[in-house]
């Protein structure tokens, strides 16, 4: 049957209420083997999908330190609220369970697959298969599941079983819960005296509007006269915090600064700028342009960065540009797990943007 005839058949079938088509429509094209190989990289619990390769704990430790430790910690212990990957054994019944690869994850395939396909955060799909084997081996070691001379490979992968594999069962709500919640509910005199036992206000963790009310509280309708509502109804300008260092901004090209703000989205996950910014995964960057390297109070720099600081490195425009183009090439061992900005114009823009934030 020709394509046009198939389409015709489809049109006829469509006159029915819902399209029910046993026959193919003839749209799309077969995927080429190399296309399938590029995209179909998921690894399944039985090891299906694993490529050839191997990696040892020692190499994994090194790669982990370079690519993962800035969020997950040198020992996979997790920095701040980033995921903890090791430890937590026997914590699943605690009030604060620690769900790690060793304590919770059921399958090792998930670890390898996620590292290879989705990590590092902000630079996904830059880990080679051998590196993924090595990092996975290191995470097993961090959880006390293998010795330090262990080598993980495609061949021995399915021999490794995680401790909590048996800890999961398919959804059983239909048996365990639904029968309890079926039927005509009570409509009158269903409870005795009731007291308020917990109040959210006591925790005081809700985002607030400037007047102290929960963020987004509807404004009183009595303010609805156009003249009255103008000021309070406007959102506080997001740019307000950035008005202070206007002196520096005046010299910068506003379009370049704006472009730099967009580029900075790649950095924001780890670096904060502006009033009230605090060190996070990376140090705050207020006043960074022209500042001595490794000098932000309260940030724990990598050893190479500390050494560079002692050597008198200053973040001139040129030094920053070189660093941002290839962070790990410029400074081997930096904690900054960022692949680098490929385009010179992006680097110029982000430096111009950073230049608008005074120290």
């Amino acid at each position: 049957m020709s394509k046009s005839l198939k389409l015709l058949a489809c049109t006829v079938a469509l006159t029915a209420a819902t399209p029910v088509l046993a026959e193919k429509i003839g749209l799309g094209r077969p995927a080429l083997p190399e296309e399938v190989a590029a995209w179909d990289v998921a690894v399944l619990p039985d090891g299906t999908g694993l490529p050839e390769g191997s990696g040892d704990v020692f190499t994994g430790d090194e790669v982990f330190a370079e690519k993962c430790a800035s969020c997950h910690g040198d020992f996979a212990e997790g920095i701040d609220n980033w995921p903890v990957l090791a430890g937590g054994q026997n914590s699943l019944t605690n009030r604060r369970p620690v769900k790690t690869v060793g304590s919770y994850w059921p399958y090792l395939s998930t670890v390898w697959d996620y590292i290879h396909r989705s990590m590092p955060f902000g630079a996904a799909q830059t880990v080679t298969p051998d590196e993924a084997y090595a990092i996975t081996a290191f995470i097993l070691y961090s959880n006390g599941l293998v010795e330090d001379d262990f080598v993980l490979s495609k061949e021995n992968f399915s021999e490794i079983r995680l401790p909590n594999e048996g800890g999961f069962r398919p959804d059983d709500r239909a048996e365990a819960e639904y029968p309890l919640f079926m039927g005509e509910p009570c409509m009158a005199d269903c409870a005795g005296d009731l007291k308020v036992t917990k109040r959210a206000v006591d925790l005081n963790v809700t985002p607030e509007d400037p007047d102290g009310k929960p963020a987004g509280t509807l404004p009183p309708l009595t303010l609805a006269a156009a003249g009255d509502v103008a000021a309070p109804a406007e959102e506080p300008a997001a740019e307000a915090a950035e008005e202070a260092p206007a002196v520096e901004t005046a010299a910068a090209d506003p379009a370049l600064v704006e472009a730099g703000e967009k580029v900075f989205k790649k950095c924001k996950a780890c670096h904060k700028v502006g009033d009230g910014a605090k060190n996070a995964t990376g140090p705050i960057l207020n006043g960074i342009v022209g500042k001595a390297a490794g000098a932000v109070d309260g940030f724990k720099y990598s050893k190479p960065m500390q050494a560079a600081a002692e050597g008198g490195l200053v973040w001139s425009h040129e030094a920053l540009a070189e660093f941002l183009a290839n962070p790990k090439g410029y400074m081997k061992g930096t904690k900054m797990s960022f692949a680098g900005l490929k385009k010179a114009e992006e680097i110029d823009a982000v430096i111009a943007y950073l230049g608008t934030f005074g120290g």
Binding site: D80, Y107, F181, C190, A225, E235
Partner: protein
């Protein structure tokens, strides 16, 4: 804005007010004072408003600028792997506008054009296939309205009342009308082999978020959608193409959909093992808890929507939904669950979609403990938080579909509380 000058009552209006007070004292029906908004010619009734070329794509009027998505900064380490909340306290009806519908990204909302878009079907199929956006536009379409609720909606509330406002406690939800191609048609195009029992849907973003689901679901009502509420999907909702999985948890509604793999087993990806599994009190865990059980919440009054008009007629409005089908009934209690009355279901009741309910009461100005309780067409009744805790413990995180209590104070302010 042409005119911001504050208008006060005119002298004539004030003089009139004196007369009005006299009339009221006599007990009869003239308004207390003539309203200058009526008696005086207002600026907007005399001069021009905006021309038709002022806003080729409109945004809400500035008086509604508080009706926006909000996030809770302390919840996550990074705003590109985080969530924000729909302002359900300020919305009515059932359709959520895309611009204020909650977002959950695992690696940020990406820009993917229609021209660059490709969808691959691979795995246990007769012919692995690639479809362009243009190909998808030539398949027969269907239209479905469905709610999308994050499995963690209300997850912060397991340990106790925590956040002030249904935007934060129940706002990881939106409801849109989608147009797209049934996934079944695309799978038929590739030809699923008999040993194919599961599909795995994967996104094109850096997180490569992927979830497995049984083939039966994929062949049933799952949609490969490209329109929402009549227009193209917004970037943050997966432009140009997302998966719509009615009744199932939001994490499975893969955005920027790039691949459907057919397998003989679940992939057991990171998102369906280490996350989105339900840890029970005994340390065991449920997995594959896909369906969102029946749930409801009163959206006003609520902490962000206090009662400011005093006693008398009061509209209680809220939302109910069930991943198992249609909402059958919603009951409302004003005394913390001692006594219940059945609310009105307003508008169309659609399966696996938000349903609006209303109850109009005459508020006597006393404190209320407001609750709503949904029932769906299977006969399931929305449980209390204590009933769920008794089965699941406190570490469950996901699938908190329990009854919400709002404490309405005599001054009309409203708090999120637990009662016993």
């Amino acid at each position: 804005m042409a005119e911001t000058e504050k208008k006060g009552p005119s002298r004539r209006a004030v003089l009139g007010a004196g007369l009005a007070t006299g009339a009221l004292a006599a007990g009869m029906g003239r308004a207390q004072e003539a309203d200058p908004l009526i008696t005086e010619v207002q600026d907007w009734a005399s001069s021009f408003g905006d021309p038709v070329d002022a806003a080729p794509y409109g945004t809400p009027i500035r008086f509604e600028s508080h009706v926006v998505r909000r996030n809770v900064e302390w919840l996550t380490e990074s705003p590109v792997s985080s969530i924000n909340f729909t302002p359900i306290h300020a919305l009515e009806g059932t359709i959520t506008p895309q611009g204020c519908a909650f977002e959950r990204h695992h690696s940020g909302a990406i820009e993917l054009s229609k021209g660059d878009y490709r969808l691959m079907i691979s795995g246990l199929v007769e012919t692995p296939m690639v479809f362009t956006y243009e190909d998808l536009m030539r398949f027969p379409r269907t239209v479905t309205t469905a709610f999308c609720e994050c499995a963690a909606n209300g997850g912060m509330e397991w340990g106790g009342a925590q956040l002030e406002g249904c935007q934060f406690t129940q706002g990881m939800i939106h409801n849109m009308e989608y147009t797209g191609v049934p996934l079944r048609l695309l799978l038929e195009e590739a030809g699923v082999k008999p040993e194919g029992k599961w599909i795995y849907a994967e996104g094109a973003d850096a997180s490569s978020n992927g979830r497995s689901m049984p083939l039966e679901k994929a062949l049933d009502d799952v949609l490969v959608a490209f329109f929402a509420n009549g227009e193209a999907l917004r970037k943050e909702h997966g432009y140009p193409v997302r998966l719509v999985v009615p009744g199932f948890e939001g994490n499975m509604w893969v955005k920027w959909l790039r691949r459907i793999g057919v397998y003989d087993q679940a992939v057991e990806s990171r998102e369906e093992t280490s996350k989105y599994t339900d840890l029970m009190a005994d340390g065991s865990a449920r997995k594959w808890t896909w369906v969102m059980d029946a749930k409801s919440v009163i959206t006003s009054p609520s902490p962000q929507a206090p009662i400011r008009h005093g006693k008398g007629p009061l509209v209680i409005t809220g939302l109910a939904w069930s991943g198992h089908g249609k909402i059958d009934r919603v009951d409302v209690s004003i005394d913390g669950g001692k006594n219940w009355q059945t609310a009105r279901l307003s508008g169309d009741v659609k399966p696996k979609a938000l349903t609006r309910f209303h109850l109009d009461i005459d508020w006597d100005g006393s404190e209320l403990l407001l609750q709503s309780r949904a029932m769906d067409e299977t006969g399931y009744v929305q449980p209390t938080k204590d009933q769920l805790r008794e089965i699941r413990g406190l570490n469950n995180v996901y699938h908190n579909n329990s009854i919400q209590t709002w404490w309405v104070r005599a001054d009309g302010e409203v708090e999120n509380v637990e009662i016993a």
